[in-house]
C-alpha cells in the first residue's frame, strides 16, 4: 500500500513548511546584526541579541505583566464560565433559552468594534491604567461558556442524581461532582485561554498608559518603533515572547485535542 507511506510523508513535509518561517526567525535571532538578511546558514552564532533584549530592555517586566494578567484571567474566567455553563446545561429555570441566546449573541461582538465605548465603561469603573483594567474586561467571553455547556450536556445525569440523593445542594453538586469531572476540559481550555490572553494587543494598548504595565505584545510593538533598524533585536524579542506560549502549548498539546473532542462539537 503506497498510501500508507505517502500520506505520513506528505504530512511531515507540510509540517516542515508550516514551521519553516518560525525556524527561520529563530535562526535569524541568533545571527549577528550584520548577517540578519543573509540567506543561508549564519557564519557565526550569537546570543548577544537575546542577552540585549533581556537585560537592556525591560523585557522581563513585560513578560511578568503578561504572565500575571494571563494567569488571573484564565483562572477566574474558567471558574465563572463553568458556573454559568453548569446552570445552562443542568438546571431548569425560567428564561434559560433567552439567557443562553443572549450569551451566544455576544460572540458576534468583537473587541475592535466596541473599543471606544468599552474604554468609556472601563473608565467609569475606575479600571484605567491598572492590572484590574487589563484583567476584568478580558474575563467575560461567551466562547468558554458555550464549550463548557456542550461538555456538561454530555455528562450522564445519574452522576449528579446520585449526589442529589445524598442531599447535596446545587453548589455542592457543582463543586464536588461537576467541577472534578470537568478537570480535563478545564485543563485544555486553560491552554486556549492562556494563549489568547498572552497574545492580547489591542485592549492593553488602549487601556494602559503606565509604562510599567506594558504587556509583552505592547513591549514588542513598541520596540519596532524604537529599534526599527535592528531586526536582530526585534526578532530576538519576538522569540522570547513566543517561548511561554510555545511551552504552554507543548505541555497542553495532547489535552487540547481531547478537549475539542469532549466538548461534544459534533
Amino acid at each position: 500500500m503506497r498510501t500508507k507511506f505517502f500520506f505520513p510523508l506528505l504530512a511531515h513535509v507540510l509540517a516542515s513548511i508550516a514551521v519553516a518561517p518560525l525556524l527561520w526567525i529563530l535562526i535569524s535571532a541568533l545571527k549577528p546584526a550584520e548577517d540578519v538578511f543573509s540567506f543561508g546558514w549564519p557564519s557565526a552564532w550569537t546570543l548577544e541579541n537575546l542577552r540585549y533584549v533581556l537585560f537592556k530592555i525591560p523585557l522581563p517586566m513585560f513578560l511578568m505583566n503578561s504572565a500575571i494578567v494571563s494567569v488571573v484571567v484564565t483562572v477566574v474566567a474558567l471558574f465563572f464560565h463553568s458556573m454559568a455553563a453548569y446552570a445552562l446545561a443542568r438546571l431548569r429555570f425560567p428564561g434559560r433559552g433567552i439567557i443562553f441566546s443572549g450569551i451566544m449573541s455576544t460572540l458576534l461582538v468583537s473587541l475592535p468594534v466596541i473599543l471606544v465605548p468599552l474604554f468609556l465603561v472601563a473608565k467609569q469603573l475606575n479600571l484605567l491604567d491598572s492590572y484590574a483594567g487589563l484583567i476584568v474586561p478580558s474575563i467575560f467571553h461567551a466562547f468558554g461558556i458555550f464549550l463548557l455547556r456542550q461538555y456538561y450536556l454530555n455528562i450522564p445525569r445519574e452522576l449528579e442524581e446520585a449526589a442529589d440523593l445524598d442531599g447535596c445542594g446545587y453548589w455542592r453538586r457543582y463543586w464536588s461532582v461537576i467541577l472534578p469531572l470537568s478537570r480535563p476540559v478545564l485543563a485544555s481550555l486553560s491552554v486556549l485561554f492562556f494563549l489568547a490572553n498572552w497574545n492580547a494587543f489591542l485592549w492593553p494598548l488602549t487601556i494602559t498608559r503606565n509604562p510599567d504595565l506594558r504587556v509583552i505584545q505592547l513591549g514588542i510593538s513598541g520596540m519596532q518603533g524604537q529599534y526599527a533598524s535592528a531586526w536582530n533585536l526585534i526578532l530576538a524579542a519576538a522569540v522570547i515572547a513566543a517561548i511561554p506560549t510555545v511551552v504552554v502549548f507543548v505541555a497542553g498539546q495532547k489535552r487540547l485535542v481531547d478537549a475539542m473532542k469532549t466538548t461534544g462539537l459534533k
Binding site: 525591560p58 510593538s221 513598541g222
Partner: protein
C-alpha cells in the same frame, strides 16, 4: 476670519446620555456614567501634577534624547510646585496608535503633549489647545524665526511652541555611487536625472532611490515639496487648488520611480524617515529624509559615508523643501492648563543662557535639527555646528527654500494621501487622481467652519 469651534453649541456628554441613551439610564452602569462623564474639567483647575506625554523619554534605552526630556522635567520640578510627570509612549503607538486619541475621547487627555503640524487643526478645532500667548514673553516670540509661530497660531494667539525645524533633503550613499561607477558630478538636479541615475544605481539588492510608501501624515509631508516645486498647492486662498499641472506632475514623478522599478514599494525599518535601515543598510542608494537622520546616522552608522543634496526639481521648477517639526502644546481641558503653558514657555522659550543652552542641546547635540530660534542658532554657530558638512548644507542651502508643513485637517489630508498612494502604488492616472482628490476637498471646504487652513 474668526475661529469658531467646530460645533457652535457643544453638548456635554451628559446630555448625550440623556437624549440618546435613555434606555441605558435604567441599567446599573448608567449611574456612574452619568455623574462622572459630565464633569470634564473645563480649564483652570489646581492640579499639582501635570502629565507630559511624549515619544522620547524616559524610554527603555535611556538614550540622550530620553535623557534630555528627563532632565527637563527634573529641572522644572526642582523649582516649581506643580510638577511635571513624563509619560513615554513608543513612537509607533504615539503616531498611529489609539493611546492619545482614546484618552482625549474620554476626557482623560494628557496636560502637555507633542503635536505635529498635521494634527494641529484637529486638536485646535476640538477645543483642547491652550493659548500659550500670555505665558510667552515678547522677547521669546521675537526670537523665533519668521513663520514658525504663525503656523501654530490662530487669530494671533500662539497654541504650540515648536521644538525644532526639520527640513527634508535627498540623502545619497557615497559607496553606492562609487560601486555604480558614478561620481559627484552625476548627482541629480532634475527629476529626469533622478530617474536616470536611480536606474544605474538599482541592483539585485538595492534600489536607486527611495521615497516614503507608507500612507500617513509623514508621506504627505515628504511629498509636498514636489508639489510646491511646480508652484502647486493643495489649498490657495481658502479654495481647493489641487487639480493642477503641478500636482499631476508630482504624482507622476513618484509613480515613475515605482513603475521604472528604481524605488521600493515598501521601505525597511520605520520607512522613509529611517535612513539607517534603508540608505545605511545599502537597500537604497538615494533616500529622501529629514535632518534628524544626521544624528541617527551618527549614533548608529557612524562610519557610513553619505551626503545630501536638495530635492531635484522638475524642468522649470524651483527648489523647495518642507519644514517639519513637532511642538509642545498644553491641554486646555487639562488639570492645570495655565501651569502647563508656563512649563512650555519655560522649556522651549526661555531666552536666558540656560534656556538657550537647553535648546542648543536638543537641536544640535542630542538631535540634529535646524534650531527654531535665532539666539539658539547663534549659540550653535558659536560652537561651529553649522560650519561644515551636511548640517551646513541643511542650514544654508536647503532650509531657506522651505515652507512650514501645512496644517491640514484629516479631511484634507486624506484625499491627498489617497491620490499619492493610488498613483505611486496602484498605477492610477495622476490627472484623474488629482481631480478626484480636489473634488473631495472642495466638498469638505464648503462646510468647514474651523480655524483657517494653511
Amino acid at each position: 476670519m474668526s475661529a469658531t469651534p467646530l460645533f457652535s453649541q457643544p453638548v456635554s456628554r451628559r446630555s448625550v446620555l440623556r437624549g440618546g441613551l435613555g434606555a441605558l439610564a435604567a441599567s446599573a452602569v448608567a449611574g456612574p456614567l452619568l455623574t462622572a462623564c459630565g464633569g470634564d474639567a473645563g480649564g483652570g483647575g489646581d492640579g499639582k501634577e501635570m502629565s507630559f506625554w511624549n515619544f522620547y523619554g524616559p524610554s527603555d534605552d535611556q538614550g540622550p534624547q530620553s535623557k534630555w526630556f528627563v532632565d527637563l522635567a527634573e529641572k522644572w520640578n526642582a523649582n516649581n510646585e506643580v510638577k511635571v510627570k513624563l509619560r513615554y509612549i513608543p513612537g509607533k503607538d504615539y503616531l498611529n496608535g489609539t493611546t492619545l486619541q482614546t484618552a482625549f475621547q474620554s476626557g482623560e487627555g494628557p496636560d502637555i503633549f507633542l503635536i505635529s503640524p498635521g494634527d494641529f487643526l484637529r486638536y485646535y478645532n476640538g477645543g483642547v489647545l491652550q493659548d500659550l500667548s500670555s505665558a510667552l514673553p515678547d522677547e521669546s516670540k521675537a526670537d523665533y524665526l519668521p513663520g514658525l509661530l504663525e503656523a501654530r497660531s490662530v487669530d494671533g494667539k500662539v497654541y504650540g511652541l515648536p521644538m525644532e525645524i526639520e527640513p527634508l533633503a535627498l540623502y545619497y550613499s557615497e559607496t553606492a555611487f562609487e560601486k555604480a561607477g558614478l561620481s559627484e558630478a552625476d548627482l541629480p538636479k532634475t527629476w529626469d536625472q533622478t530617474l536616470a541615475v536611480a536606474e544605474k544605481l538599482t541592483g539585485k539588492d538595492r534600489y536607486g532611490v527611495m521615497f516614503e510608501t507608507l500612507p500617513g501624515y509623514y508621506q504627505n509631508f515628504t511629498w509636498y515639496p514636489f508639489l510646491w516645486q511646480g508652484d502647486g498647492a493643495v489649498i490657495k486662498d481658502g479654495k481647493v487648488a489641487f487639480d493642477s499641472p503641478a500636482a499631476v506632475q508630482a504624482l507622476k514623478f513618484w509613480q515613475d520611480t515605482i513603475k521604472n522599478k528604481v524605488a521600493p514599494r515598501k521601505a525597511l525599518g520605520d520607512g522613509g524617515g529611517d535612513v539607517v535601515s534603508n540608505l545605511g543598510s545599502g537597500a537604497a542608494a538615494m533616500q529622501q529624509s529629514g535632518i534628524w537622520a544626521v544624528a541617527d546616522m551618527q549614533a548608529k552608522a557612524k562610519n557610513f559615508k553619505y551626503g545630501i543634496i536638495p530635492h531635484p526639481t522638475p524642468s522649470g521648477g524651483k527648489p523647495a523643501t518642507d519644514l517639519g517639526g513637532w511642538a509642545f502644546v498644553a491641554n486646555a481641558k487639562g488639570k492645570n492648563p495655565e501651569a502647563a503653558a508656563k512649563f512650555i514657555a519655560w522649556a522651549l522659550g526661555s531666552t536666558d543662557a540656560e534656556g538657550v543652552e537647553r535648546q542648543r542641546q536638543w537641536n544640535t547635540v542630542v538631535k540634529t535639527n535646524v534650531p527654531p530660534r535665532k539666539s539658539v542658532q547663534k549659540a550653535a554657530d558659536a560652537k561651529g555646528t553649522f560650519e561644515s558638512g551636511v548640517l551646513k548644507k541643511f542650514v544654508t542651502e536647503i532650509a531657506p527654500t522651505g515652507q512650514p508643513e501645512p496644517r491640514f485637517p484629516p479631511e484634507v489630508y486624506q484625499p491627498v494621501a489617497d491620490a499619492i498612494q493610488a498613483c505611486q502604488l496602484n498605477a492610477a492616472d495622476p490627472a484623474k487622481a488629482a481631480a478626484d482628490a480636489a473634488a473631495k476637498i472642495d466638498t469638505f471646504l464648503k462646510t468647514y467652519q474651523g480655524a483657517p487652513i494653511s
